[in-house]
Homo-oligomer: 414 residues x 2
């Protein structure tokens, strides 16, 4: 893409009321726009990052047999009353509104109830199980505090997968597959090394749930990490009893701040029983379906990547989720030789199917172009200038050294 | 995809309270699920159709220079108060709700205001124009009447593009490009031949707006069509004065029912002036930006296709938006020869990159498989049975005749 055609501008300052580091950088670099506290718009660069994150998650959900759907946001109270979660006291982040005729409807903060109700139309027999259903759908959460940028917003797209199994054993088998898929996802997103399986509170149907917590000083959660074992315990279940149960020793734990980037729950029959989701088993008996839920918010992953990967000049995107792979900069574009060569390199990169943002602007200084490249944070910066002659100047965003290279060598290395 | 792994079941009956033809067929065939009046979930087959429609629209918006964003649903009253559209009387389909701290927020019924406000951050000079920005974003509309299935829902994804131009002439030039793009889209979706440019009421900044109306007995709109000229007039502006202005003769007009599948508006400075979206021109003067808006709802297009293309057995999808290209049916799968051959054909189709739904079920009758294929409406049905021997039986959904053909011949024809 030509930078001159990108409508967003970088900014020197983020809005004064924006206190989170990730949103400050993303706003300054033109990835997002703050519409109000807890509500952000994704601009072209931000939409590209969001889509790449979504694509990675979708691939991994399909790989474990997920089938994609898209449910509604407006919620019929009836299905939530069946599970006693309609009252504002039971879910404290409800947004509610009214139809013209007067009846109250909600905005989905999560989707266990409507999906469980839906599945009663399609699950009847043991032959219909297991089934894994997921979506990328808006969640609305009426958060009292929304000051962490993309880490906690009042509306956001969530990937939520729900598993429907015959037995606890079948659920356990899938639960392990989902756990592995989550590790794969965070590795692919670029922050697997910072992300730890964390034991959190379970519920009526399982001793623990599991969170994926990414170490980060600005995280909202406190966890106790056993680095050697690669597992952690959320503060909410940090008791001597739990530590003994998990076989971890208090002295080997570090107290650290972290961002909850994913969570998986065994739901058991919590939703299937009250909503009548059951199946007829091979012996003719009628059994409730055993459920699990598995969530990741792509925008929170985007915010997490920025919290982890930046310096004082800007963002440093992991390659898999960067808006473009290459940031091509023409320096001194008023020189015809430079200009012609820069456009030729742009065309060659496009021909080689490499995603490239080409700073073709001729009304800004060289210094501005270079600082914009640092702020935006695309992994590979390629400079064409009078100095580069028949070579290209290639620098990785996370390195301070640049090298002069031929186009062919560059392509081989990319 | 293997039919045995698809979690949806076809149904003999749609819910009793579902009166619309498109929703009845889509529910029976397992494409959508009714969550409440005006709110539908998209099941795997429906999600595939929706995604194909979205992809076609996205390609055509990119082709005319559109840049994709994603705005919020929750609306800050301030930007709507600036244009006098916050009051319930000015937009009669608002859904409103409250933040925990008490202040009122809305759910976007459309996005002129927030996008115009956003663009003030990125447009300052004549050099920044023109810009074309679009999104696929939820709209919430508190409709009193939601009985037309996917044709009128209380929440739906809309593709809305907004153009930002320096002058009326620039707007007019882009407006014509968008008009052509819309014709291309409806042609690609498969109902271009039924879709007519229709003159509708304009506003302060233009005499007319334009709708794209698809002829359909179940449409909510009445239009007056001049078939020879290929244009129509909406009932709302059907006056002698308008007819004279457009040079159409009353006697050549048919009164027909139609579905509004798209609309384009010249907005002029209606939103840019009150929201302060202006640019500094080359002569140093400050001018308001001239805007246009361009909408298509992918789910309404999906409902329209079903209204147009069906028979008493089910849906007949246009090829470009069908959930799969081929519906492969194994009849008599208890015969090992048939079973082996059917799976081999399935693998061959996948290898040839052809999207195929393979009915591999062995617990339903042959008749049920064939009636499900008719109901679901995939364009090409391929049968493998004891009768087909080394050939395949190929029938188009919209034809009553089947032919026996070789695999190679089939691939050539597909």
């Amino acid at each position: 893409m030509l930078y001159s055609q990108l409508f967003t501008k970088t900014k020197k300052e983020a809005p004064k009321d924006e206190v989170s580091l990730n949103a400050q950088l993303l706003i300054k670099a033109g990835f997002i726009h703050k519409e109000m506290a807890g509500v952000y718009a994704f601009l072209p660069l931000g939409k590209r990052v969001l889509d790449k994150i979504i694509d990675i998650i979708r691939e991994e959900m399909n790989a474990i047999g997920g089938q994609e759907v898209l449910l509604g946001s407006l919620q019929n109270p009836a299905v939530w009353e069946a599970t006693n979660r309609w009252a504002d006291g039971s879910i404290d982040v409800w947004f509610k509104t009214n139809l013209q005729a007067g009846s109250e409807v909600g905005l989905a903060p999560t989707h266990e109830e409507p999906l469980t109700a839906l599945m009663t139309q399609h699950i009847a027999s043991y032959k219909d199980l297991p089934v894994y259903v997921y979506q990328f759908q808006l969640k609305f959460r009426n958060e009292t505090r929304a000051k962490s940028g993309l880490l906690r917003t009042r509306e956001f797209i969530m990937k939520d997968l729900y598993s429907f199994s015959k037995t606890q054993e079948d659920l356990d088998t899938f639960y392990e597959q989902a756990k592995q898929a989550y590790h794969t996802i965070f590795n692919r997103l670029g922050f697997g090394d910072y992300t730890f399986l964390t034991f959190a509170s379970g519920g009526a149907f399982s001793k623990y749930s599991h969170e994926f917590q990414t170490l980060c000083p600005n995280g909202e959660d406190t966890i106790y990490l056993d680095r050697a074992k690669g597992i952690a315990v959320n503060k909410e279940v940090y008791t001597d009893e739990v530590l003994a149960d998990l076989g971890v020793d208090k002295t080997s734990l570090e107290e650290v701040r972290a961002i909850e980037v994913g969570n998986i729950f065994r739901l058991g029959t919590k939703f299937s029983s009250p909503l009548g989701l059951s199946y007829t088993d091979v012996d003719g008996s009628v059994q409730p379906v055993i459920m699990g839920s598995y969530g990741i918010a792509p925008s929170r992953s985007m915010g997490t990547a920025v919290e982890l990967f930046h310096d004082d000049k800007g963002i440093m995107w992991p390659e898999a989720i960067a808006p473009f792979k290459v940031h091509l900069v023409g320096l001194g574009m008023d020189n015809d030789v430079v200009r012609t060569k820069a456009f030729a390199v742009y065309d060659q990169l496009l021909s080689a199917d490499i995603e490239v943002l080409f700073d073709d602007r001729d009304d800004v200084s060289n210094g501005e172009k270079l600082s914009d490249a640092d702020l935006i944070g695309i992994p590979h910066r390629i400079i064409v200038s009078a100095k580069t002659e028949d070579k290209l100047e290639w620098k990785r965003r996370n390195s301070s050294e640049s090298v002069f290279t031929t186009f062919d060598n560059l392509i081989t290395n990319l």
